[in-house]
Amino acid sequence: MSERTENDILVEVRDLKVHFPIKRGVLFDRVVGQVKAVDGVDLSIARGKTYGLVGESGCGKSTLGRALLQLTPPTAGEVSFDGVELTTLPSGKLRSMRRRMQMIFQDPMSSLDPRQNVESILTEGLQTHGIGADRTDRRRIIGETLDAVGLPRWALSRYPHEFSGGQRQRIGIARALVLGPELIVADEPVSALDVSIQAQVVNLLDELQDSLGLTYLVIAHDLAVVRHISDTVGVMYLGALVEEAPSDRLYTEPLHPYTRALMSAVPVPDPDVEDRRERILLAGDLPSPANPPSGCRFHTRCPWAQPTRCADERPVLRNIGASRVACHFAEQIASGELRPHGVSAQIVRPEGEGDTPGVVSAPTEPGSYV
């Protein structure tokens, strides 16, 4: 176990890859390609801090979160949690490690069993991990957890459908918290909630971190939410990190062209800001991860793309100030030496799959559950 210092790293991810095979065939499956959902990601999360992962749908951020917890087996790479290498851990040991790393899902309605009442949902994990001496002891732990997430005690005998969306998400948080984890991976924890409820849950996550010293990996497509709760933010595009920076720095000084475009696209609820700001409109859609562009993956949509290097040399993350950026020309773009140019939209279609669109999924719309 590593030392507990100020800059103590809890999670260390090295060159993580998750590839999904594309299979064809009636009797015999043959693999015709690979969807490179996560393709070489390095990141580390400091203990007690929040790492925010943003990106558009299909960029691999959820897969990364799941692979980190070994819920999806990684194709290659290493994940070490508090000094323990998870990818090679036998399943029994991994299961006991799971107590220390929990997940909060996007849609509490589909991640909670509708036929289990809240007490049973919360007890299940305790029993599996042998926490609590007896029933009364478990009840005490559960009661404390309910207080922490702001649910009333009478909730114990109720079922998920009897709660509103915000309360259901609190149950989801309680389910993760009851085991006393150190790391919580929250995959789109607020995107299914209405704004007024969203703020309640964001504040709750913040308070829990302060009181319990939790480490978060927050995965979200909403940049404003991520900026609000994260210390460090990583931006993903087509399976790889394109930029990583301390939260404030990323927003004040985005270096990667994709980050710039992303920032400029987020609407701000302030008419004065909205009228002043300049939008960087990206042309076209996200290319298919089954057939990613060569070189820099963003070069097909990048307004700053150069004829040299961008199309044939894949940029690696390199340090510029406090940020890590994967762009060959980040400095020249920041200094204004390179000017943006027009890009025409390209139709996105995976090769060999002429009938399927490259981009299908979209983030679940917020506010669809009350």
Partner: protein, 337 residues
């Protein structure tokens, strides 16, 4: 004279043995020609039902009752028979929905779906219609439009599908375009593309746009006038800037305080509204927001608050509104006068 004048619109769903649901409860607002008007609110506030009622698209079922008026250019849309309503729909008023995949017919090529509008309302045929359809797709920024015409909705990406839907909507140069959460299902960079497209279309053709959304950021960038809905009622109406600068209704204040902002720093606390939308049950008559409201008084519980027209052209439905900064809260009698 406003282009669309909605007056005291109410939609009630009644089911046997259950209490009737007042999804929309006396909503009034107006849209001027060429204006962008926002209907903002959280889920269940009645914003979509309002638009469906105006368009006559609510499923005809027993127990549904629609009251009030929706006067478009002198005719009350709610009194029209189906035939004349179909003439107006698509030609004078068009609509864009949230999810383009479910509002496009999956087994008919895009081209046919676009030309259908042209055939029905502009009497175009064959080659001419196809040419016009390609021109429309080109106008909304779909690359290689001639080829796209032969393709099916599933062959296009989400953003392209939404563009195709917009092409169908603007095919007849409608005077009013109703967009119900047009970008909610899309990624932010695609959302920015679509919003920019809508802005251009509105600017170039003078179409009025009724924008229904939950996203205050979208409203801040697009709308001239904003109507905030809560519990089936319009709780505040104001021009864009005053609304964001000095919201008066406690719900608007709460909504603005809840949204994390991209330009705010890490660790700035959000001010959420306590409780949830469901908390309206014990107050059947009073202000729907009263159970969650920090400025609640005894008056809020009795009967629905009257619409107050303030001197600066805005109106709100609250007996104890947020005072304007730097002003001693005036006695209410003066303010409503």
């Amino acid at each position: 004279m406003a282009l669309l004048e909605v007056e005291d619109l109410s939609v009630t769903f009644a089911r046997r043995g259950q209490r009737a649901v007042h999804a929309v409860d006396g909503v009034s607002f107006s849209v001027d020609a060429g204006e962008v008007v926002g209907l903002v609110g959280e889920s269940g506030c009645g914003k979509s039902v309002t638009s469906l009622a105006i368009m006559g698209l609510l499923p005809k079922q027993p127990g549904l009752s629609v009251g009030g008026k929706a006067v478009f250019d002198g005719t009350d849309l709610l009194q029209l028979d189906d035939r004349s309503r179909r003439d107006i729909r698509g030609r004078d008023i068009a609509m864009i929905f949230q999810d383009p995949l479910s509002s496009l017919n999956p087994v008919i090529p895009i081209g046919l779906q676009v030309t259908e509008v042209l055939t029905r309302h502009r009497g175009m045929k064959g080659e001419t219609a196809a040419k016009e359809a390609a021109a429309l797709l080109d106008r909304v920024g779909i690359p290689d439009p001639k080829r796209r015409l032969k393709e099916y909705p599933h062959q296009l990406s989400g953003g392209m599908r939404q563009r195709a839907l917009i092409a169908m909507a603007v095919a007849c140069q409608p005077r009013l375009l109703i967009a119900d959460e047009p970008t909610t299902a899309l990624d932010v960079t695609i959302q920015a593309q679509i919003l920019e497209l809508l802005k251009d279309l509105v600017r170039d053709s003078g179409t009025a746009l009724l924008m229904i959304t939950h996203d205050l950021g979208v409203v801040a960038g697009m709308c001239d006038t904003v109507n905030v809905l809560y519990g089936g009622r319009v709780v505040e109406t104001a021009r864009r800037r005053p609304l964001f600068r000095q919201p008066r209704h406690p719900y608007t204040v709460g909504l603005l305080g809840s949204v994390p902002r991209l330009d705010a720093g890490r660790g700035e606390k959000l001010n959420p509204i306590p409780g949830s939308v469901r908390d309206l049950l014990p107050w059947p008559d009073g202000c729907a927001f009263a159970p969650r409201c920090a400025r609640r008084t005894d008056e809020c519980v009795g009967e629905p608050p009257e619409l107050v027209h303030a001197h600066d052209g805005r109106s709100y439905r609250c007996v104890n509104p947020e005072p304007l900064p730097g002003m001693v809260p005036a006695p209410r009698e003066e303010e409503s006068a």
